[in-house]
């Protein structure tokens, strides 16, 4: 097990290396640079600025310097946000994004699994059809449509549901207050709830047909015990391998959600940094995201191995 983990970990390093290389050269191949301001700098000052950031050296040398610093854990200074290093900026933004993402993930898994199991247990009845119709909506209607629509309903108009008036703030972070987080988290988790519900329903239906479930029922176990103790465990396996793609989906969604709701996370940095050609900050955010995705895929594989003895050691 530990050997396998180590092997997987070493296998992830070339992936990260390729990401760094591709991102680095792609950005440098593009026209324009971080110091192309509207007001042109005097040539000698421009030369000094470029020298300070090593931008006057040949590209391959710059790449070497970047890799060397990266290996020491130094992501470099931000070109546009003076007085900040990239590590500091990520240190400010990442906790915000993580909090949003983890909450969305928790909501997606708990709600998605419950809906999926419910639909599977009522296969081809109205409960099943309604859950699957709603899931279809969740999958086809993208985040950038649901975000403004929900804001309109719960933020601007303040809809009344069950006597409760919803009048949520339409944007801002406010130090991560619940009221500010509610809409972004819901919007972020909607597509994932839908996909997870579909996945769970499919695998649950398959598992419920298998022989050991029939045995469990024949033994006289209660319906709850059969579902929760026997069926659910096996049915959740495909979900574990969906963990990696789910995180990627939430990261992509967070770009939109952070932009719309004005959340100060790293998703917003990324777009601004790319537009400003803030090379180091873009690289930092890409590396951060890539590491997250690689890590989550790794964790998913580990959990999968723990849960299913058949894939262990292979």
């Amino acid at each position: 097990m530990i050997g396998y983990a180590l092997k997987r970990f070493l296998g992830a390093l070339p992936t990260l290396f390729i990401i760094v290389t591709v991102a680095f050269f792609m950005m440098r191949a593009a026209p324009g640079g971080p110091f192309d301001a509207a007001r042109k700098l005097p040539p000698e000052i421009e030369r000094n600025v470029k020298a300070a950031y090593n931008l006057d050296k040949p590209l391959i040398v710059q790449y070497g310097i970047y890799l060397e610093r990266l290996a020491q854990g130094d992501l470099g200074p931000s070109f546009k946000n003076k007085d900040f290093t990239v590590a500091q900026l990520i240190g400010i933004g990442l906790p915000v994004s993580m909090r949003l993402g983890l909450l969305a993930m928790a909501l997606a898994i708990s709600l998605g699994v419950s809906l999926g199991v419910w639909a599977a247990l009522r296969q081809n009845q109205w409960q099943d059809y309604s859950v699957m119709t709603v899931a279809m909506f969740g999958i086809t209607v993208p985040t950038f449509v649901t975000a403004p629509l929900l804001t309109l309903l719960f933020g601007v108009y303040g809809v009344h549901i069950f006597g409760l008036e919803f009048n949520l703030p339409v944007g801002g972070w406010n130090g991560g207050a619940w009221r500010n987080m509610a809409l972004p988290v819901v919007v972020l988790s909607l597509p994932q709830i839908a996909i997870i519900a579909r996945l769970t329903r499919g695998s649950m239906i398959e598992v419920l047909r298998s022989n050991y479930i029939r045995t469990a029922r024949a033994k006289g176990l209660s319906a709850n015990a059969v579902v929760l103790r026997h069926a659910l465990r096996a049915a959740l396996l495909p979900l574990v391998s969906y963990l990696g793609p789910a995180v990627a989906g939430i990261l992509t969604g967070s770009l939109i959600v952070e932009e719309i709701f004005g959340v100060p996370g790293i998703g917003r940095y990324f777009i601004q940094a790319a537009l400003n050609r803030d090379y180091t900050l873009v690289m930092g955010v890409v590396i951060c995201y890539a590491a997250l995705i690689v890590l989550l895929n790794f964790i998913a594989d580990m959990i999968y191995g723990l849960l299913d003895p058949r894939v262990r050691l292979s």
Partner: protein, 307 residues
């Protein structure tokens, strides 16, 4: 032969006329109500988009400052002003007709959807079929490359590409196509692996057909089923990616438009002019639904074993 005998032979032939697998699949597909509805609605949207200049008397970039941000005449809620006859979906913040702009957005979104899917189809099918046909070390290497590419956060590379190369319209086709071919390659490889064990491939090889000929003439036609299904599910994906980029302001540029741009504009003005958000969002959602229904229908039709 006497005329009667000819007629007999003809009736016999008709009675025993074999139905190809494709005819069976088509019949199954047309029995699926959701898929047929999807095709019909999608056809209407596509026709409207194609004939957009003739459907409305307004130009997609015709600015009219006398009807700025006006609701359609039939709008049941409160609105600052009414746009007048012909503006079925109201007008935007500079008085352009929203109906015609939604249709022009449909043109861009559908075009990107089809072209980028075609790009991904060509790369994915050739790549997957090659890997699957050769097998062994070539296959392992080629699929390892796909695995690595899979784990890249691709949307970020697309964003970098779009930003850095100044929102080039044609680059968008390539960038999106380059992102979505991976799954296609995997599907085709799996199909090829199982197809190449079949006798007809052995026969072709024995007859001296070149590997390229075997791949293009014998393997690809036989793995077409799952690929068709995946293609119908890729188009909505691509439309989503395009709108995603356009929403962030990295895609199509004014005065041209796409659903993503229109939704972004609508989101900015939704408090005063909700129609600017509702109509583009509705068109996009309906189109995506149609593709999903058609894809599901095709899957059921082409792969009856699944049920």
């Amino acid at each position: 032969m006497t005329p009667a005998a000819v007629r007999n032979a003809q009736t016999l032939e008709r009675a025993f006329a074999g139905r190809s697998l494709w005819a069976d699949a088509r019949a199954r597909l047309f029995r699926n109500k959701a898929a047929v509805t999807g095709m019909a609605v999608l056809g209407i949207v596509a026709l409207l988009a194609l004939f957009a200049p003739y459907v409305s008397r307004f130009a997609y970039d015709g600015i009219d400052y006398s009807v700025v941000t006006c609701a359609p005449d039939w709008w049941p809620f409160e609105a600052a002003c009414k746009a007048g006859p012909g503006h079925w979906f109201g007008t935007d913040t500079v008085g352009r007709d929203l109906f015609v702009r939604v249709l022009y957005g449909a043109r861009v979104s559908l075009a990107v959807g089809f072209v980028a899917t075609l790009v991904s189809l060509m790369i994915g099918v050739l790549y997957g079929a090659t890997a699957g046909y050769w097998g062994g070390r070539v296959d392992a290497l080629m699929m390892r490359v796909v695995d690595i590419l899979y784990s890249l956060p691709f949307i970020f590379f697309v964003i970098i590409l779009m930003v850095m190369f100044d929102r080039n319209f044609y680059l968008m086709f390539v960038a999106i196509g380059a992102v979505v071919w991976l799954t296609m390659a995997r599907i085709v490889r799996g199909q090829t692996l199982s197809a190449k064990q079949k006798e007809y491939i052995e026969a072709a090889r024995a007859a001296g057909v070149s590997p390229f000929g075997i791949i293009t003439r014998h393997i690809i036609p036989n793995v077409v089923g799952p690929v068709v299904v995946y293609v119908t599910l890729t188009v909505p994906d691509v439309i989503l990616i395009e709108s995603f980029l356009s929403f962030l302001g990295l895609g199509i540029q004014e005065p041209l438009t796409s659903w993503g741009v229109l939704i972004a504009d609508g989101a900015n003005t939704m408090e005063s002019a909700p129609w600017m958000l509702v109509f583009p969002a509705l068109f996009m959602a309906v189109t995506l639904f149609c593709f999903n229904f058609i894809g599901d229908g095709l899957r059921d039709a082409l792969d009856p074993k699944d049920h």
